[in-house]
């Protein structure tokens, strides 16, 4: 929602008619005799004939209460705007009769604490430039002073707003700003508005994009570590000191210039970023859309996972940790972790489910060669969930010198936010590349597969507030969503707590976690990250699923049309293209999260090569 407009200081009949035709939300009439725009004893008919969808507003300065009530009745005022030293009691006395807007003149010494007493007795505040004449100076106040405004009460912004201010106004990132009040800067003479100027301003304002984060909904983490109902840090006391240390320092460390410089340099020179955005021509022809592949498979080590491990290893060093642990499913995160540990000379232990050790053998060999110790997790379904349990147990038993590099946007706060930040380079680059290649940084669709959700969150990150971009997250349906052998978390799950955060997970009535199944080791997980749960619940992103069979076919199709063998995880995202309908014009970005070398045995077995 973008702020509405109010035009103030009207009195001329023809002029009022012309402004009414522009349909502002409010039209203001000044009943303060000291103003150059004082209405005097205007014919009530002039106000009462204005359509009810426009709120006629009387502006007063320290007027007698009874007089204000009389004028409300006479002119049928929908609102009053009080510019004097009216008390909260005064506002309360008018509330039964009409909407009350209390105006405040803002300058550097304004005490925002005074507002609290007015919150309950007004519908809105109005922030104006402080002048001796109670407004109307044509000057703006320093809008950055509004940073001190802490209440949730909606407000009007007023004072010296002019025809050239559209862009600046559109960039104000504050959902409490409900209306913008214009007056003297649009006048031919006091009380007479320049309709042409106003009309241009209205057109420009209505066309202006909303501020980047200008949402009714916040899709990112709040200061308590929650995304809406999800997130938090549900951890035993043994993990608290480590997680709390991270929580206190992660933003400060990540945002420091020297950290960013080193992180960016490694992404460029070691990982090989930016990864290409490739327009897959033959795939595009097949699906009748412009299909762009974000080539995370071309990163060093073959998947997006390294973006996160580079970030976390630098962070671990800043925290003085000597030993690194990780969990892994497909082995890509394990390899990415073993790689950065070799790079920086740190001890590395990777937990991996016994079943995954078998089905992702090449990655196990790579980890060993890189010097990591691979520990087999033999509990539960012997896959990613159980590897994560073992890693958490290790961290509990090694509380001082160890950093746990979680491989996805799961775990206790701040992990989901931290991992998303490191992976957000994917959408950061994609936007630039799209702009270069198509002239528009917003595609129609963005698709990614979801295990815990890190490649998807990185791919969605900078598009989340672009409301027209449709975000599609593809989960693993295994042998079919309702086959009893599936990892389609949003379809099968309920809200609950797993691995330290409140999210959506597959569980029994009794709250026992259900063992998931997918042919893809990286998607074989019974939960999703808390930010995904929030995007799902708010419907900002759509969550769908494809089966083992469908994803293997999509993997083969990409291989034979484009000469790219995708990881089976990534093939899930590709498989969903088959279920979409296009008209030939759409721009579609698919995150190709990793390459298929590790999956050759599965592909070979399935297709009988």
């Amino acid at each position: 929602m973008k702020a509405g407009l109010k035009v103030c200081g009207m009195r001329d009949a023809m002029n009022i008619q012309a402004v009414t035709a522009l349909h502002p939300a409010y039209i203001g009439f000044i009943f303060y005799p000291g103003s150059a725009r004082y209405v005097g004893s205007v014919d009530p008919e002039l106000l009462t004939s204005i359509p009810a969808t426009i709120k006629t507003t009387g502006v007063f300065v320290n007027a007698a209460l009874e007089e204000v009530k009389r004028l409300i009745a006479l002119y049928q005022l929908k609102a009053v705007q009080l510019h004097g030293a009216e008390s909260p009691e005064y506002c309360a006395a008018l509330q039964p009769y009409t909407e009350v807007i209390k105006a405040f003149g803002i300058n550097y010494s304004f005490d925002f604490e005074t507002l609290t007493a007015y919150e309950k007795v007004t519908s809105y505040f109005l922030f104006d430039t402080l002048t001796v004449n109670h407004g109307g100076s044509g000057k703006r106040f320093d809008w950055s002073l509004l940073k001190q405004y802490r209440l949730n009460h909606p407000y009007f912004l007023s004072g010296g707003i002019g025809p050239d201010d559209v862009n600046e106004l559109a960039s104000i990132d504050d959902k409490r700003l409900h209306f913008i009040d214009v007056n003297s800067r649009f006048e031919k003479s006091p009380g007479l508005k320049d309709i042409e100027l106003l009309s241009t301003f209205f057109t420009l304002w209505n066309a202006a994009p909303a501020a980047k984060n200008y949402n009714d909904m916040n899709y990112f983490v709040n200061e308590k570590g929650y995304y809406g109902d999800f997130g938090g840090a549900y951890i035993p006391e043994m993990l608290y000191p480590n997680v709390e240390e991270l929580r206190q320092h992660y933003l400060e460390i990540i945002n420091a210039p020297d950290f960013q410089q080193e992180f960016r340099a490694l992404l460029k020179d070691y990982v090989g970023r930016p990864s290409p955005l490739y327009l897959a021509k033959r795939l595009s022809e097949k699906y009748n859309a412009n299909i762009f592949l974000k080539r995370e498979d071309l990163n060093h080590t073959g998947a997006h996972k390294i973006n996160n491990t580079i970030g976390q290893i630098l962070l671990a060093e800043k925290l003085g940790k000597k030993r690194i642990i990780a969990e892994t499913g497909a082995g890509q995160h394990g390899v990415a972790t073993a790689t950065v540990c070799a790079l920086r000379g740190l001890e590395c232990v990777v937990y991996m489910g016994e079943i995954d050790i078998q089905r992702q053998a090449p990655n196990v060999a790579r980890m060993k060669m890189l010097g990591a110790k691979v520990v087999s997790a033999v509990s539960g379904s012997k896959t990613l969930k159980d590897a994560t349990n073992e890693a958490m147990r290790d961290w509990i038993n090694n509380p001082v010198d160890t950093h746990y590099i979680i491989g996805s946007v799961v775990g206790p706060h701040p992990y989901p936010d931290m991992v998303a930040l490191f992976q957000s380079v994917i959408s950061e680059e994609t936007k630039k590349q799209l702009l270069e290649q198509t002239g528009n940084d917003q595609p129609d669709y963005v698709l990614a597969c979801v295990g815990g959700g890190s490649n998807a969150m990185g791919m969605f990150y900078h598009f989340i507030n672009d409301k027209d971009v449709k975000l599609i997250a593809v989960e693993a349906a295994g042998k079919g969503v309702h086959s009893g052998h599936s990892a389609a978390t949003t379809a099968l799950g309920k809200e609950g707590v797993l691995h330290g955060s409140r999210s959506i997970l597959m569980q029994t009535e009794d709250g026992q976690v259900i063992e998931p199944y997918s042919i893809s080791a990286g998607l074989d997980y019974p939960g999703i990250g808390p930010q995904h749960a929030h995007l799902f619940k708010t419907t900002r992103a759509e969550y769908v699923s494809v089966s083992d069979e469908e994803s293997l076919d999509a993997g083969l199709l990409l291989t034979q049309l484009e000469g790219i063998i995708p990881a089976i995880e990534s093939a899930h995202a590709l498989a969903y293209l088959e279920k979409m309908e296009f008209t030939g014009k759409e721009n579609v970005v698919v995150c190709l999260s990793g390459r298929g070398d590790k999956d050759m045995e599965t592909y070979m077995k399935h297709f009988g090569f």
């Binding site: 308590k224 938090g232 840090a233 549900y234 951890i235 035993p236 006391e237 043994m238 608290y240 000191p241 509990s379 539960g380 969930k385 349990n389 958490m392 147990r393 509990i396 038993n397 509380p399 001082v400 309920k494 809200e495 609950g496 707590v497 797993l498 691995h499 330290g500 569980q507 009535e509 009794d510 709250g511 026992q512 976690v513």
Partner: protein
């Protein structure tokens, strides 16, 4: 008054608390084990309600939990068993487990069922202090269920003070940051940690747990706290088909001297 508070009012030293997993080794053994424990001198019982992903537990308790779940243990069944247990056993009973089953049961339903079954307290290690205070404390207090928090050698003094303020019943001191089932070694650093806590003069009694497996380690713990909790070592000793028999021989080692001290 809650049975836990009554216990610490009359017994300040060598309080012996025993942990075991509900429904292990046999689904129906929960009550018989409790009776045998009370008879052979346990002061307090901590009964684990099993969870599929017990991240704070070592292999022994993981295995007992899995076994109990596979045999069909659920919270509903456990509450039925606990009602029967309460007719036969007078010592305080706490439930210990993870937060997700509690959330699915409903925190209010859970506390109400605890109160109706004569449960006196809960230990839910992954229920964070912030969420407890903001969302659930009122419910726990309404049903007079003591929520017990854990403290480790790494817990800051400020946080321990906060825990002391929120606790009713006792505070659970972990001998070290560890999953269950390690062996307690009272080194210089652990004794410094225990002494530090003792010197803080907390308003709640303290119990030391995790790694107490022998009379010797129990006695050491009792030097610094009001008592000790035995878990893994006890669970290991349980054997079908007559676990109660094993209970008595296990407890002999502890109770002989313990009762003479108390």
């Amino acid at each position: 008054m809650n049975r836990i508070n009554q216990l610490f009012e009359k017994k300040k030293n060598n309080v012996l608390s025993i942990y075991y997993t509900a429904g292990y080794p046999g689904l129906g053994d929960t009550v018989a084990i409790a009776e045998a424990l009370e008879e052979s001198g346990a002061d307090m019982l901590e009964i684990g309600f099993p969870y599929s992903d017990p991240v704070a537990d070592g292999p022994v308790i993981q295995a007992s939990s899995k076994h109990a779940l596979d045999s069909g243990m659920t919270l509903d069944l456990l509450f039925k068993q606990l009602k029967e247990l309460r007719n036969k056993v007078t010592v305080p009973v706490l439930l210990m487990g993870y937060v997700n089953p509690v959330l699915q049961y409903g925190v209010e339903n859970f506390c109400k069922a605890c109160a109706e079954a004569g449960v006196d307290g809960c230990i839910v290690p992954d229920l964070p202090m912030y969420e407890y205070e903001e969302l659930y404390q009122d419910v726990f207090l309404k049903y007079d269920i003591c929520n017990v928090f854990l403290v480790t050698p790494q817990t800051s003094e400020e946080r321990i003070r906060k825990i002391d303020g929120l606790s009713k019943g006792f505070i659970y001191l972990l001998s070290s940051s560890a999953t269950t089932g390690q062996n307690l070694q009272v080194s210089d650093t652990t004794s410094a940690y225990f002494s530090r806590i003792k010197a803080m003069g907390l308003k709640n009694p303290t119990m030391i747990g995790f790694g107490i497996s022998s009379k010797e380690t129990f006695d050491k713990a009792c030097l610094y706290a009001n008592g000790g909790i035995i878990g893994t070592a006890f669970v290991k000793s349980l054997q079908s088909p007559d676990p109660a028999k094993g209970v008595r021989s296990f407890m002999e080692e502890f109770t002989g001297t313990v009762s003479s001290l108390s």
